[in-house]
Amino acid sequence: MSAVSKWEKMLNLDRRWIFLAIGIASIVPFLIGFGMPISTTAEVESIFDYVNGLDKDNAIFIGFDYAPGTQAENTPMGVAVLRHAFHNNVPVFITAYQPLGHGMALGALEYVTNPAIPGFYQSVSFEEWADLREAGITDKDELIASWESDGNALPEGAKGWVFEGRDFAMLGYAPVFSLVILGMTASIENQFPQDANGNPLIEMPMLREHKSLREVDLAFTTSGSSACRSWIVYGREKIGLPVAFGVTAVMATDYYPYIQSGQIIGQMGGLRGAAEYEVLLFENGITETTDKAFTGMDVQSAAHLLIILLIVMGNIAFFAGGFHKKTALKGRG
């Protein structure tokens, strides 16, 4: 076999070998877990600092504006901000830009309130605390005191109580969501008379305190498409609503202009962005451990190294085989 044919063979490597290598590079670090440290960037710190400055008198929107396909990257972002908001008692309106996002939002909320997962928040449904609400007890501190004096004890391992209608409202999906955002600049209740569980929004204390997007302090949208732009166009540009993005790594470079122009507070780009937020939550004592995104970064490290190795191999074969002297070689596997 001549040297040239060896290089040619290398260049025409069956792509299934590459797929196998990527598969191994993804699975092995996931099982071993190196836990390499992650430094945080200004783009993510700015979102963290902003949310950290909010309290029970503020309110935020978290938009789960993605389909299940990108959940590995987008869900940890939504979960991290949700945990942060719950920790600071900031009421959260949860929405979805597309029908499948509704399921993603439900999944994230269930994850944060699941007693089987460490650092969970004990959820109290809208009906369960109806008596207290009717008695006019809506302030978070008073609510907790009254709720616990009624004989309810915070389960072991729980980080706190979250009351549906006071701490969160699962609004979910509505058709043509960009126009829904526009409508919510005037009234949230007009767009969502009921939440996803059929509870009337008008009876929710958090809605009474934050009737429109003008009274909301942040819209954090996590997305795998340009759905997040709608929050800029109809929220930020129309009424000055502060907006922050959490986008997939493939999309991340698209939105740097919005950071520089000051139209968004910050951006979490891909799993790395979510991992940075998890690190910030951990370092500030808001969570006791980091979560899935941080674990996933080991996988990314290995995969990126492998891709670089493949690029180097491809170039060595390309030059050593003398293909650079020939006309364009269109590899078709």
Binding site: L11, L13, R15, I18, F19, A21, I22, G23, S26, M36, P37, I38, S39, T41, A67, P68, G69, T70, Q71, A72, L100, G103, L106, G107, E110, P175, V176, L179, L182, G183, A249, V250, A252, T253, D254, Y256, P257, Q260, G270, R272, M297, D298, Q300, S301, A303, H304, L305, L306, I307, I308, L310, I311, M313, G314, N315, F318, F319, H324, G331, G333
Partner: protein, 214 residues
């Protein structure tokens, strides 16, 4: 007539919305509010047409027993089965969309993993495409290649082993050269959008109405 009327509607609608942007008056806002109320309704009717199309195409395949016609059942059964489970099936028999229900089970255990798998293929395809296409053929291609390597390593924790300069350089590339190139393309795109919109509003571009025009 078949084309003149739609063109007139487009022209009047286009100019109206353009002018409306500059008029905050209540009558102008009423026009806009009306539009925002109509748009979802039109969209909902179009969805019926879409589902009709999908059904027609696949029922044709099944009827004609064309190649791979069996897959068409895999489209049609969930297409009608999932709404049936969500709406019609009684709640007492695990109907509805909320957990626990059959719909929720299918959504969480079939749709979510399948879609995640589709997206995760990206990692495999990126590796394959990078191996085949990323060549240091010229000085410019070499710069591109180096920038890509720096950003890729800088984005992952392992990059910090080489020192803070690597992630910092990666971020610098993203924040400045990347941004400059992106803005240049976005400006061109912006004018392209403006010109295309004007062509449509004033009837210069009619292909979208059907056919290649004259």
């Amino acid at each position: 007539m078949k084309r003149t009327v739609p063109l007139m509607i487009v022209m009047v609608g286009g100019i109206l919305m353009m002018v409306q942007y500059f008029i905050p008056h209540q009558y102008s806002q009423a026009v806009f509010t009306n539009y925002t109320q109509w748009a979802p309704i039109v969209g909902a009717f179009a969805l019926i047409l879409g589902v009709g199309s999908l059904t027609r195409v696949h029922s044709h395949k099944i009827r004609r027993k064309t190649k791979n016609w069996q897959y068409s059942w895999a489209v049609l059964i969930p297409l009608y089965g999932m709404p049936f489970l969500a709406i019609i099936w009684p709640q007492s028999l695990a109907g509805g969309m909320d957990s626990p229900s059959i719909f929720h089970f299918f959504f969480m255990h079939i749709q979510v993993p399948i879609q995640s798998t589709m997206f995760s293929l990206l990692a495999f395809y990126i590796a394959s495409a990078a191996f085949r296409a990323f060549r240091a053929k010229s000085a410019l291609a070499t710069i591109l290649l180096l920038a890509a390597v720096i950003v890729m390593i800088g984005q992952v924790p392992i990059g910090e082993i080489f020192g803070r300069w690597l992630p910092e350089t990666g971020l610098w590339i993203l924040r400045y050269p990347n941004l400059a190139a992106k803005r240049a393309i976005m400006l061109g795109v912006g004018f392209g959008i403006l010109a295309t919109n004007l062509k449509i509003i004033f009837g210069v571009e009619r292909n979208w109405l059907g056919g290649a025009g004259k």
